[in-house]
């Protein structure tokens, strides 16, 4: 089942000297129980695409549907079925992880006792018992990212959007996060994983979309891409595809 449907998403930013097209008619679908990798170099438009999907930004053109809800027409419903996580989402430094989780549970319309139970469940499940009662400001980067994951999961959403979730993490924390993402996939969630670590994407993603300068230059599972390009490693495939699109662009212009 298609949990996420993006159709011709466009985002144009006004700039002091004109306009900049950050995302240019990007379309893809993400199914239940699948990790979809949105890959591309910095500035390719990954984050902007994800922000449009999560209702943080209004698309200039195109539509997006999450679990059947239209991003532009039902933004509150979309936010209910979505867990959103980025590398640089901050935590409230002066709250403890437990307080923070209870707060976000309550923002997701849970009553207090239910919110506390859910927070305690997530703390237990993600093994955060050791630091659940320290202030977030005192946690390590890996611990913070664990809290962030728990935060994205408070409403047990069927769709997870993860923007560079492993950025700046050490090997051990990295392992924890990636294991968790796989587990969630196996439980039937639709997951969008954006990253520029291509090796990581290669081991994690069921299908990938390659973004370059706002456009989706290639899409499909890894085997298809390998056949298409005759290369094995994703990073090489990527460079080849980008080169092709750039030369195509050069020919076109």
């Amino acid at each position: 089942m298609d949990m996420v449907i993006a159709e011709n998403l466009v985002k144009v930013f006004p700039t002091p000297d004109g306009e900049k097209c950050a995302v240019d008619s990007v379309s893809f679908v993400v199914r239940r129980g699948e990790i979809y990798g949105l890959l591309g170099p910095n500035g390719a438009g990954k984050t902007t695409t994800l922000r449009m999907l999560s209702g943080l930004m209004t698309p200039t053109g195109g539509t997006a549907t999450l679990a059947g809800y239209s991003v532009s027409k039902q933004p509150q419903e979309v936010k209910r079925v979505l867990g959103f996580l980025t590398a640089n989402t901050g935590l409230y430094q002066r709250l403890t992880p437990r307080e923070l989780l209870i707060y976000f549970c309550e923002l997701h319309q849970m009553e207090r006792p239910k919110a506390e139970a859910r927070a305690d469940y997530l703390i237990d499940w993600l093994g955060m018992g050791d630091f659940a009662k320290l202030r977030c400001g005192a946690l390590s980067t890996g611990q913070k990212q664990q809290v962030n994951i728990a935060r994205a999961l408070v409403a047990d959403p069927p769709i997870l959007v993860m923007d560079e979730p492993t950025l700046g993490l050490d090997v051990l924390s990295n392992r924890v996060i990636l294991d968790f993402i796989r587990r969630e996939r196996d439980e039937g969630k639709a997951i969008i994983l954006s990253t520029h670590y291509l090796d990581e994407a290669e081991t994690m993603c069921d299908r990938v979309g390659l973004l370059h300068e706002g456009r989706l230059v290639a899409e499909g599972d890894l085997d298809t891409l390998r056949e298409q390009t005759g290369e094995q490693r994703l990073s090489v495939i990527f460079l080849k595809l980008i080169g092709a699109s750039e030369s195509a662009g050069a020919v076109g212009s």
């Binding site: 943080l56 989402t89 923002l107």
Partner: protein
């Protein structure tokens, strides 16, 4: 989850968050508790020490001749002897008040200077404190001499001035003693020497001095209390990256802003209360009443509570303004830059209001900040303030606060501000970056209306006729200014921000039913209005001066050509007020509030704009009816027709006295507010009710329009 539950959740979390911040605690608790006593103790002791030490310093007199010097010595010496004699005599009677007893001049020196110019220079250069020139007049009656003493003083120099007053005391005492002695020599009673005795009893209480300075201090403290949390909860949230997290939660931006705004208000009030308590305690326990007020009375603690109460609407306003301003900022530093000019802007009306001659009247009643300063002062001084003054201050302050919260909500979630794509302030005013909008946002409409409120009040107040004058000028100027302010201003704002004028003013063709309903309402609403007034007059008695002003208005209308009267009384207000309140304001409100709330708010504000409490009920009810009509018909026109007819009938009653008589209504001499006769009342009410029924039910497309309208704001917010 309901609105208030979500807001409570946000409120509790933000309050815990801000109170756990060491910087907040430091600024809110430690600074007032430690700093005030220290500052006050320190500065007051320093002042009294300086005054004391001034009296102990030796005084340097300058004279021109040896003779003058001797004369001066003799004068001071004899005065000291007399004083000590008097002191001994009084000391035998009672232990006396040492402070009040005159002190002799003891520690001084006298220098002779060569010339007057040299003497003046020495005083200017502060080598000498006072110059004394003594001139002996001719003998009077062969026995007595009149002596002329001239003081050369530099009154900018406190030591010079002090020297003069002390020597003046010596001379005055000597003069009185000599006079008494001379009277005794001719065997007249000594009392003859003083035909007048002056005593000053100062009636100022300690509160009056506090009353002058405390409101301003409190306002500063309240602002200071609001600044830090306002920045921390808006720009701080953005800077720490938690805003994005918050925005992906299924919570409307307005809830977030209201929750944050309530926290800032609470912290500001807590801060002000704490500051007030510590100041009171310092004055009370430090025994500074004497120094501050010159009497032994204690600080009136009951009044402090009253002031704190009056401070709440102000804290609400300042918190809203601070939240709105800081919402534009993306970093702490940027927010601090925005806050500074706001504080200055607040201090100007505040400072003006703190002037002792400024009264809580006229424009000051609706002057933001200024009216709070005056209200707090008048409460402290126990001045005579009427409840309508208090309510005007509170209503206008709430109006400004509401507009500020609406602006904050529309700015807070703005893409360009959340993600720092481009300079945030630029995106708001740069026309090229403004996307065409279908509806005016609530922030725009409420801000324009909030700004029009004091402007309109000022216009009305400045045009109000003096005693005996007619109101033709008021009516004529209203005919010009109302279109300018109520229609041209919103239009310019709408055009600049590329907002759809048709939607904003509901400039659509109405259905036949709506139009018919409008006509019928217009024809019958005066009956309802009149009965409402009768009802109201049984509860609130209308003061004679208001009745008088109604009559002046009637006389002026009669004096005009009928077409002009109709134009100024019916056409202009109907068109302008409908376009502003049922068009611009209501369409902005409808976008983000429920229809019921939007209609009630627009009607209340419409009523408030009439500035007369006695018109409030009728105008509010009519405001609800017109707004309902506009909402249901999706057109401004039916309400405009109804409004026009309502006003025209009112004017007609005045212009053509035979009209009410034909209807069998008693002429309005004597009891103005008698019930209408049944043969007018019953049909009138029936037509009114019929018209309300005639108003079309909401059609499907109207609903869709509204839901897409409310979606619009969410997706842009």
């Amino acid at each position: 989850m309901r609105f208030h539950h979500r807001i409570r959740t946000i409120y509790v979390k933000e309050l815990i968050d801000i109170l756990r911040d060491r910087r907040t605690l430091l600024a809110m608790i430690v600074v007032p508790i430690v700093m005030y006593p220290l500052l006050m103790l320190g500065s007051i002791q320093a002042v009294s020490y300086q005054v004391q030490s001034l009296d102990d310093e030796p005084i340097r007199f300058g004279v021109l001749t040896e003779d003058d010097g001797k004369h001066l010595h003799a004068l001071i010496l004899r005065d000291a002897e007399t004083l000590s004699r008097v002191a001994k005599r009084q000391g035998a009677e009672s232990a006396g008040d040492e402070d009040d007893a005159p002190k002799p001049l003891e520690d001084y020196e006298v220098r002779a200077m060569a010339s007057r110019a040299a003497l003046e220079d020495a005083i200017r250069e502060r080598q000498l404190h006072l110059g004394i020139l003594i001139e002996k007049g001719p003998l009077i009656g062969g026995r007595y001499r009149r002596i002329h003493v001239e003081f050369l003083v530099d009154s900018d120099n406190v030591r010079s001035f002090n020297a003069m007053t002390r020597l003046q005391d010596v001379v005055a005492r000597t003069r009185d003693r000599l006079l008494e002695n001379r009277l005794a020599q001719v065997r007249l009673p000594r009392a003859l020497a003083k035909p007048y005795i002056m005593d000053v009893s100062d009636l100022a209480t300690p509160t009056s001095m506090l009353g002058q300075i405390l409101p301003l201090i409190l306002i500063l403290l309240t602002i200071t209390g609001a600044i830090y949390p306002a920045i921390d909860l808006t720009a701080g949230e953005r800077e720490r990256g938690t805003l994005e997290t918050l925005m992906v939660c299924p919570v409307p931006v307005i809830d977030l802003i209201v929750g944050k705004f309530l926290v800032v208000t609470s912290v500001a009030i807590m801060g002000a209360a704490l500051n007030l308590t510590v100041v009171s305690a310092t004055i009370y326990f430090g025994g500074f009443n004497r120094v501050l007020a010159g009497t032994e009375e204690t600080v009136p603690l009951g009044k402090m509570a009253l002031i704190l109460l009056a401070l709440i609407p102000f804290a609400v306003l300042m918190s809203a303004v601070m939240i709105a301003v800081c919402s534009y900022a993306r970093t702490f530093k940027e927010a601090q830059n925005y806050v500074t000019p706001v504080i200055l802007a607040v201090l100007i009306p505040g400072g003006f209001a703190a002037l002792p001659t400024t009264q809580l009247e006229g424009v000051m009643l609706v002057m933001p900040v200024g009216n709070m300063v005056l209200l707090a002062r008048d409460l402290l001084l126990g001045a005579d303030i009427s409840w309508w003054q208090v309510s005007l201050v509170l209503i206008s302050t709430s109006l400004y606060a509401g507009a500020a919260v609406a602006v904050a909500a529309s700015v807070f979630g703005r893409e360009s501000v959340v993600f720092a794509d481009s300079a945030s302030l630029k995106t708001i005013f740069s026309r090229r970056l403004i996307k065409p909008a279908a509806w005016p946002p609530i922030s725009m409409s409420s801000l324009v209306v909030a700004l029009l409120f004091p402007t309109w009040f000022f216009v009305q107040a400045s045009l109000s006729p003096g005693p005996g004058e007619g109101v033709q000028r008021l009516l004529r100027m209203t005919g010009v200014l109302m279109p300018l302010l109520f229609v041209a201003c919103p239009t310019i704002v709408l055009l600049y921000w590329r907002t759809d004028i048709v939607n904003a003013f509901a400039l659509r063709r109405p259905g036949v039913r709506s139009l018919a309903a409008g006509v019928l309402i217009g024809l019958s609403s005066w009956v309802v209005a009149r009965e409402l007034n009768v009802l109201q007059s049984s509860i609130i008695v209308i003061p004679a001066e208001i009745l008088q002003s109604f009559e002046t208005m009637a006389a002026s209308i009669v004096a005009m050509p009928w077409w002009m009267a109709l134009l100024l009384v019916a056409v202009v207000p109907a068109v302008c007020e409908e376009l502003l309140f049922r068009g611009f304001f209501l369409s902005g409100l409808m976008k983000s509030a429920r229809p019921v709330t939007a209609i009630l708010v627009s009607a209340t504000v419409f009523a408030v704009f009439h500035f007369l409490l006695f018109k409030f009920l009728v105008t509010a009810v009519l405001g609800v009816v017109f707004a309902y009509l506009c909402w249901r018909s999706r057109s401004i026109l039916p309400g405009m027709v109804a409004h026009l007819l309502h006003n025209a009938i009112g004017a007609l009653m005045v212009i053509e006295p035979s009209f009410p008589q034909t209807l069998g209504i008693e002429s309005s001499d004597g009891d103005t507010w008698a019930h209408l006769p049944a043969h007018v009342l019953l049909p009138g009410v029936a037509v009114f009710v019929l018209a309300l029924i005639l108003i079309p039910r909401p059609v499907r497309s109207a609903d869709e329009d509204l839901s897409s309208a409310s979606f619009d704001i969410r997706s842009t917010a």
